[in-house]
């Protein structure tokens, strides 16, 4: 046992081996700053040998400012009685390097410090990376600010454009329509049936274009208006929309079914606009059914409510599902079903602005079902955060 213990005892050579085989810079100085010991990494970095450095001070090796700082730190460590951490800068081949330094005093039998040991780790790369990250973040924030400003500017521009469209493009249409009317009223004796018919068609088209302009504006407004989220009673909303539609066409027989207690959070006006369009679509495309059926309900998908509007009307060819939501795309002829083809584009924009999804299923001739969600489950918490920030 004794034998083995003697073998295991660590001698000065072993300790030297220990401090020489590390990438840290290790050194020992007395309280006047005179070197007592350095490790090999020190020798290598500062090009000085262990023998030569004995008795030298930092002021012999480094610029005065650096040496002053090292000495000051040594004194702090000596006084503290235990290890203290510093960040120090020392010269390197490629410019100054930053070190994370632990300094601790060596205490004599009287408990007084007689020397200070230092272990310095080069953290230049880490500092540089941190600096880069900081710079990158600053740049990123700046980019975000710039992009936000650009977006705001383009939204304003779009706003002004939309306003101009609604004013300036409608006025000439009114003139077209109005003067056609004046021709019909004042010069009808000079016009034959074809002439009258041409003027009527001019009027129909002026009206149609005015409608298209209105739809286009409504579409752009859904993209521009600020979202104001609140709790929405979709059941009540659907019932009121259906009530209005039924009042407009009291002669139609439509079997209506609205699931009770449909609730979600969203922008009241935009969601109403979307529901209005979806339900009006169902109403329109069931116009040819002897017994039309419109069902509004919900189901759960990934523990999130998915709402749907189902009808037993004309439906659409599933091959063209991707075209359904494009503005001014119509899957039915104007003769069968009137409309500008903007309704579903509006619905899609409303849903997307809420962070939700929309899709549709159909068997032509048997009806269509439109499904939508108002927010994706993952984005829900983010959106709440965003709302809080406002």
């Amino acid at each position: 046992m004794e034998h083995r213990r003697r073998d295991a005892r660590v001698g000065p050579e072993q300790l030297l081996a220990l401090i020489d085989n590390t990438s840290a810079v290790i050194y020992m100085r007395d309280l006047q700053g005179r070197y007592m010991l350095i490790n090999e990494e020190y020798e290598r970095l500062f090009n000085v040998s262990r023998e030569d450095i004995i008795g030298m001070k930092d002021h012999d090796l480094f610029p005065a400012e650096m040496a002053d700082e090292f000495l000051a730190n040594d004194k702090v460590a000596a006084k503290s009685g235990g290890p203290v951490q510093f960040e120090e800068i020392a010269p390197g081949d490629d410019g100054p390097h930053t070190y994370l330094t632990i300094k601790f005093p060596l205490l004599g039998s009287d408990g007084e410090a007689y020397a200070v040991c230092g272990i310095s780790t080069d953290i230049t790369d880490r500092k540089r990376a941190e600096q880069e990250v900081r710079l990158f973040n600053v740049k990123l924030e700046q980019r975000v600010r710039e992009r936000t400003a650009e977006l705001e500017a383009s939204t304003k521009e779009l706003d002004a454009f939309a306003y101009s469209v609604s004013h300036d493009l409608r006025a000439p249409l009114r003139s077209l329509h109005g003067f056609s009317q004046l021709l019909l009223e004042d010069y009808s004796d000079l016009l034959d049936e074809t002439g009258v018919s041409h003027l009527r068609r001019l009027q129909v088209n002026a009206t149609l274009m005015a409608q298209l302009l209105d739809d286009l504006l409504r579409l752009s407004r859904t993209t521009r208006v600020e979202l104001r989220r609140q709790s929405i009673d979709l059941t009540a909303m659907a019932e009121s929309i259906l009530h209005d539609l039924a009042a407009e066409e009291p002669d139609r027989t439509v079997k209506l079914s609205v699931e009770p207690e449909l609730h979600d959070v969203g922008d009241l006006h935009l969601v109403r606009l979307a529901m209005q369009n979806l339900i009006a679509n169902a109403w329109k495309f069931t116009g040819g059914e002897s017994v039309a059926e419109i069902t509004i309900g919900s189901m759960l998908r990934d523990s999130q409510p998915v709402f749907f509007v189902r009808d037993n009307g004309a439906g659409f060819d599933p091959r063209f599902e991707n075209k359904l939501f494009e503005p001014f795309q119509r899957l039915h002829s104007a003769a069968d079903f009137e409309g500008s083809g903007i309704g579903l584009a509006i619905v899609q924009r409303v849903v997307l602005r809420h962070g939700g999804a929309i899709w549709a299923e159909s068997v032509p001739g048997e009806g269509a079902t439109f499904f939508f969600t108002l927010a994706s489950p993952v984005s829900l918490s983010e959106q709440r955060g965003e709302d809080d920030a406002k």
Binding site: H167, R174, H177, G178, Q181
Partner: protein, 148 residues
């Protein structure tokens, strides 16, 4: 014809002037329509310098988009003057922008008509407007108000 049987139309678009005149005629409103092509001219008629008789129309039809002095500017001015603040003013606009509607009422407009593209609709709008403001609605004159 009484002075207040007149209607003042403040409108810079000559086509719209034609249609408005026609619409009033077709609806058999016998009122004389005085036209001002811009805000400055309207001001001259409604708030003339001393010594000149001011126009006191039954209603003012005011286009919101006028060159230079806008329709809203005209409206604000009318509402700020004792002599004109009670004249009913109906705003005419091409757009149905919410902001225009809101701004109009905030400035004290009595009504708001979006000029429809279809002439028939315009006739209807003028008809209901005329019925309400020229026949149903009794005029409140400043003198009566003061005495009452």
């Amino acid at each position: 014809m009484m002075l207040n049987d007149q209607i003042l139309l403040i409108e810079d678009n000559p086509d719209d002037v034609t249609f408005t005149q026609r619409a009033f005629r077709k609806n058999n409103f016998g009122n004389k329509i005085v036209v001002a092509n811009d805000g400055a001219m309207a001001m001259k008629l409604l708030l003339p310098p001393a010594g000149i008789v001011a126009l006191r129309p039954s209603i003012v039809l005011l286009d919101i988009n006028l060159p230079q002095m806008s329709g809203l500017d005209v409206l604000r001015r009318l509402r700020s003057e004792e002599a004109t603040k009670l004249i009913p003013v109906i705003m005419l606009t091409t757009s149905n922008d919410d902001r225009d509607v809101r701004a109009s009422y905030e400035c004290g407009a009595n009504g708001f008509v979006r000029k429809p593209v279809a002439f028939d609709d315009f006739l209807c709008a003028v008809k209901s407007l005329g019925l309400y403001w020229l026949e149903v609605n009794e005029q409140v004159r400043p003198q009566e108000r003061r005495s009452g």
